[in-house]
Point group: C2
Chain length 428, copies 2
């Protein structure tokens, strides 16, 4: 490497433009901090002549990101194209194969091909860094792989999709239904081109699968993430949860237990006074539990030009300083393929049962719960609406299989006017 | 460096013992993560035969930490003796001088001699790392020097002394006076041998001075930190602040403005719903504001065996992996000596005036405030107690000099039964 570090950057959308702007505006500060100048040599993007509000002046242009990735005069290839296949993947493979370091923000690509790419980086002795791929400006990758590397992690929990958290907190604040807030979010441009990536929990699930691999030393296994989006979260449940002292979050959770690795991304209740419960708006938060550190909470913007550019440039600086970390914090050969555990451990559950308004109904419900071994911590019956009365139940901690069994038994008695709702309650 | 990394560890108190335990219990995990075995070769402490609940078995003993620091068979000297001078300082100097890397948790030493030691490390081409010195298990040093190195920082704010936060939140929760909770904390062993280090804000001030040097690229300047402890925070003000939607925190604040660097550690009000306002108990929190990342919040245990050991071991792992970071994130020669700014910028203030119960008093207060250019955002007069009536005022944002001037003018009118109280209101 020379006195300057030479960058080839593919993808000039919001983030790519933000990275260029940051490298240019903070040029002297960055040189002081990493001892060499960071210079963008060449870029590639779909449209050469689009006005991006920045001067590409002396930067060379490549039409093909793979050609850019293979240039002899770059030290780092920065991939900000996106997409789990296509040019993002082929250009990163070309760069790593040519012995170039790679920095990417591409969570979908890593969730699906991260292991392959990490092996490629390792075999060529170069860095593959992706701080920007998870939780935007929050430096969770570095914190897990480096700062907390002395810990045995027991649990990673987090809100990792700002759009979902925006929708859920906005529903609660304004008392609006999901569809109304979804439409608002769409009109504000908060959603991905395929909104299901956001509201279906897929984007957040990609991020979770990357974090759990790093935390537990396993191969990235996105396919084993239990995924449920926020589309069926009702304003009624958000309001009932609030009454009971909880907030509804699209909660990512990764835990290693005796059975194996358990990963889920699904709507859960967390105490309103907990760090995750207090998280409003589009911020992300990751709660790391490890031994001996205890609990560390990180919060910040999970997306957007500035936060994402901060993460990308942080990775570039690390490489400029000679950092040599392995992509997943340890050699790929040591990463295990754990059993997939469906066991989420025991936890309390929130149940909402809309019951027909008839004598003897509560007795049937209570007996179905007891039969499944579900014990009631708190119960509230709300006043009748139309022909049914919503009953809210907070269970004592119990296995989710017991809850499933109880719900079937309750449904079988024919006392519900609507399908019962069950949401896990997690510490936040 | 060989296939194993050899440690000499001085100081076997809670933290030293915790580090030994962590290195031993996580031996194979650590080897996987950093590619070499971490081995404690020799230790030093005051008392050789004290029962520490761990087996020092094959570890050699040195009576003198300076001899330990100079041994040929260690790669890293870990200083956990404490104290801003004496053996901590001389042994670190010996280690750096002998070309050994140093890891320390000693905030007092760094606040006073950090620049000297960083220069020594730099000139010998070795690492000086001190993640554990600030905010315990929270990896704020690494986050500022590495993860967020692409940012221009504008503000560092934080609660950095868990004991003070415990006392303040316990006062509010139990409605107890400072002296009562102080006695409780003392009996629980929460306080330093010299309690003024905690409640006088000195310990937290040490930490702030280290963070602000890293964030703003300046020499560490603890002497310029405006220091005020929590000893004069009254339960009355805590309760009035809560009524107005605020919490009282011992708040560290570092900002660079046109005049220079402003550092303060003093009781302030923050909105109860803000991240800092929600921080209860003995946790620490640091809020970093930078461009382009925006705001990043980190929270965790600020002290204790586990969290501190996690930070020390994280530094050791970085060195084992060949990390070569500069102590303060950039070369010492580039660190500036900024002007000291007393200007805290404008902020809202909370004022409590205990006024004599006479006609015309409020007119005098209002006129004194107006004369000093202080404009009132909210005001509440409480019912009379004895001969005086407390009046609470939240000002619009204003320079602290205007508040000082207003308080003098108010006092001069002779309407106060007690000295007026003024506390800054900061965003949290």
């Amino acid at each position: 490497m020379e006195d300057s570090l030479r960058i080839g950057l593919a993808g000039l959308g919001t983030v790519g433009t933000g990275v260029l702007r940051n490298l240019s505006e903070h040029r002297s500060l960055l040189k002081e901090r990493c001892g060499k100048e960071i210079r963008v040599v060449a870029v590639s993007a779909r449209s050469r002549h689009k006005d991006r509000g920045i001067d590409l002046g002396s930067i060379e242009w490549e039409d093909d990101p793979v050609s850019l990735a293979s240039r002899d005069d770059i030290d780092i290839f920065v991939e900000l194209i996106g997409g789990e296949n296509g040019p993002a993947k082929t250009s990163i493979q070309a760069a790593l194969g040519a012995g170039r370091h790679v920095v990417t923000a591409n969570k979908a690509l890593l969730a699906h091909h991260g292991h392959l790419l990490a092996e490629l980086a390792e075999s060529h002795g170069v860095c593959l860094r992706f701080e920007a791929a998870v939780a935007g400006g929050i430096p969770i990758i570095k914190v897990l792989t480096e700062a907390l590397a002395g810990n045995r992690f027991t649990r990673i929990a987090g809100v990792m999709n700002g759009t979902c958290n925006y929708i859920l907190t906005r529903m609660e604040a304004a008392g609006l239904a999901y569809d109304e807030v979804f439409a608002e979010a769409e009109s504000l441009g908060y959603l991905e081109a395929d909104p299901n990536l956001d509201v279906g929990g897929i984007d957040a699930g990609h991020k979770l699968s990357i974090l759990s691999a790093i935390a537990f030393g396993t191969r990235i296994d996105f396919d084993s993430v239990t995924l449920e989006g926020i589309q069926r979260v009702s304003i009624a449940d958000i309001e009932y949860a609030a009454e009971l002292g909880y907030r509804v979050k699209l909660l990512g959770l990764a835990q290693m237990n005796d059975e194996g690795l358990q990963q889920s991304m699904q709507p859960c209740l967390v105490p309103a006074s907990s760090p995750l419960g207090q998280l409003e708006g589009a911020d992300n938060m990751v709660v790391v539990t490890g031994e001996p550190v205890g609990q560390i909470v990180l919060r910040g913007a999970g997306a957007g030009e500035g936060p994402t550019a901060s993460a990308v440039v942080g990775d570039i600086i690390d490489i400029a300083r000679g950092g040599s970390g392995l992509a997943l914090g340890r050699p790929c050969a040591t990463l295990s393929t754990p059993a997939i555990s469906a066991d989420t451990g025991i936890s309390a559950f929130y149940l909402r049962l809309d019951l027909v308004d008839q004598p003897g109904v509560m007795a049937k419900v209570a007996s179905a719960l007891a039969g499944a071994g579900v014990s009631i911590d708190r119960m509230r019956q709300k006043s009748h609406r139309n022909l049914s009365a919503p009953v809210l139940i907070v269970s004592h901690p119990v296995a989710s299989s017991a809850i499933d069994q109880a719900l079937i038994a309750i449904s079988d008695t024919g006392v519900c006017t609507d399908p019962p709702v069950a949401l896990r309650i997690e510490s936040g």
